[in-house]
């Protein structure tokens, strides 16, 4: 789960990381008032979960009230890479001489957290990692001990941070590690951490991604996450239903059980010349009503021209799935889009007998089902 910049900054500030003065605004008037209060120049920043906000026109630097009004008016309500902007952060513009990167994440290969520092801040750290990996100092932390103070210093000096600010940067890194540890962080980072001409360090941006599996013990962050929810309408609906769902650009709707098998079904749709419209995993042991909800989800996507069910029962039972499909389809006078079903595993034979073949096409292998669904999608498109 990802927090918005304004929320992450609040968490960082509460933990003692220096952040610029800022105010959240939801209207143009609020934004201008905030800018006047903070004093120019200020940055007006769209609060959406989109990378490269600046380049996409979601961040503007302004010098007076007129510019602030213009910028806030342009950004509030804009569509930023598919995300509607409803909030802006109005923030004191920092006069900087250097931009650093500091962050903590889980190194899944090592099975332990890694603290990172780089003097190449202000740009996408993943491209730095790819092009000049030596420009990032990394320090792995033993979760049994936590981060030793020397490790923060070591990372900072290894990265080549100026000695004058090294202690302050190490302090920020130590705080980020503590936040990562205490708040079940997945990624906690500041990019850029600005060094001002006075030698102060200021967190000009803030990223805080929380482990979704740990939200049960982070109630405060969970609440923030609910506030932060934005993005695709269908993906939000999937959240309500409790499905793992990802929307894609194609026209073949896909429903299956188990992440690996659903991914494989997507790949096969592509392999046979179709384009997947979504990833939808109903999970293990799905009952009839859950199957009906899944079908409702996929039919809600206007791009979908054809639907394929691929269920391999282990704890999921074929007869339950078949009943769910029948129930969901019987309520339509006309089936919105052709549905192809493939059942295997537990109670698959019973399931295939239950399925109403006036409503769906039944196929016996994965390959046949996918090819059938792809050809239906092609016919619908014509």
């Amino acid at each position: 789960m990802r927090l918005h910049e304004y929320q992450a900054k609040q968490v960082f500030a509460d933990a003692g990381v220096p952040t610029p003065a800022s105010t959240l605004a939801e209207t143009v008037d609020e934004a201008v008032d905030a800018a006047e209060e903070i004093g120019y120049p200020v940055a007006i920043k769209a609060q959406v979960h989109v990378g490269g906000r600046g380049k996409a026109g979601g961040i503007k630097l302004v010098d007076d009230a007129e510019e602030a009004r213009e910028a806030a008016d342009a950004i509030l309500g804009m569509d930023l890479k598919g995300f509607h902007v409803s909030k802006v952060l109005v923030e004191e513009a920092v006069d900087f001489v250097n931009e650093l990167y500091v962050g903590v994440t889980m190194d899944r290969g090592e099975g332990r957290p890694v603290a990172m520092v780089s003097t190449k801040g202000g740009v996408d750290i993943e491209s730095v990692a790819e092009e000049t990996p030596e420009a990032i100092a990394r320090e792995h932390v033993d979760p049994a001990f936590g981060m030793h103070p020397f490790q923060a210093r070591k990372a900072v000096y290894d990265a080549g941070v100026d000695r004058e600010v090294a202690n302050d940067v190490a302090r920020v890194l130590t705080t980020l590690y503590q936040l990562w540890d205490d708040r079940d962080g997945a990624d906690v980072e500041v990019n850029p951490l600005m060094i001002t001409s006075d030698g102060d360090v200021v967190a000009a941006d803030a990223v805080m991604n929380i482990d979704g599996d740990a939200l049960f013990r982070q109630p405060e962050l969970q609440e923030m996450g609910e506030e932060a929810a934005d993005g695709d309408e269908l993906e939000q609906k999937a959240d309500e239903y409790g499905f793992d769902y990802v929307r894609l650009d194609g026209n073949v709707g896909i429903i299956g059980n188990g992440a690996g098998l659903v991914m494989t079904t997507l790949d096969l749709v592509d392999y046979y010349g179709g384009e997947p419209a979504n990833f939808l995993d109903v999970g293990g042991g799905a009952k009839a009503d859950r199957i009906a909800n899944a079908l409702d989800m996929v039919f809600s996507d206007d791009n979908v021209d054809s639907v394929v069910f691929n269920i391999f029962g282990g704890i999921t039972r074929g007869d339950e799935v078949a009943n769910g499909i029948n129930q969901a389809l019987e309520q339509f006078e006309e089936i919105p889009k052709p549905v192809t079903v493939r059942l295997a595993g537990t109670n698959a034979t019973e399931g295939m007998e239950i399925l109403n073949e006036d409503l769906v096409t039944v196929e016996h292998t994965l390959e046949d089902a996918v090819q059938r669904a792809v050809s239906y999608a092609e016919e619908e498109e014509e």
């Binding site: 079940d184 990802v246 894609l248 494989t264 282990g314």
Partner: protein, 290 residues
Amino acid sequence: MSVLVDEDTRVVVQGITGGEGKFHTEQMLEYGTNVVAGAVPGRGGQEVAGVPVYDTVHQAVREEDANASVVFVPPAFAGDACFEALDAAGLDLVVAITEGIPTQDMARVYRKLEETDTHLVGPNCPGLITPGVAKLGILPGNIFSSGNVGLVSRSGTLTYQVVDNLTERGLGQSTAIGIGGDPIIGTDFIDALELFEADPDTHVVAMCGEIGGEDEEEAARYIGEHMDTPVVGFIAGRTAPPGKRMGHAGAIVSGSGTGTAESKINALENNGVAVGDTPNEVAEHVEDLL
């Protein structure tokens, strides 16, 4: 022969009194697994499906000579349950079925695991099965058959699909291991491949990976350098867009191009692994190599 699980495996089920724990204990017993004990704090002295329950794993090991554990404990407590299993001297194998364990809890378990000789399989996995002998976990026993194909996979239902394709061709399995789809897991591909390489009855290994992380790439290098047993591969997630998590917590292609299906398939092919485009093609390659 087989790996990790055989006739001598004596299982303690952690969380045996919960819905899933009870149901799958019955299923395991029905399959012929030697489930000798359950462990649930506060439930010592009870019985589930005829199996005696103890308050601690240590008691179950002491009283019933359990040498393997299966964890069905809810996510908030599963990390601690893994610690308990790793702390109980005598368990060679711990299988964590639980989905949704906080990653930081698993990082601590992983740290403890490095100090022991115990194999941890999972978490967030279907478990493992030696067909005709025993299963530890939730795999549907009836689709498996005994034979010489070793199977290792990150995903449960994808494993079933491949097994189905193998069975159609009359190709049975020595052992099938679901290693799980989380970012931090105990037994990884290399650990499983190492076990299969040392097993004289495993003649071909089928390995099903997916996008995210670099385990498949590292496994490919291991295969190239250390394995004589032929390996067939499959990678799920070729069509996954970067930055979107495809169900499994570990299945995500990061922005910088690591963890993609392409890089994994290339790594496998460069190390002599035949990679199938479909699960059925995996079975086809296995048949050719047997």
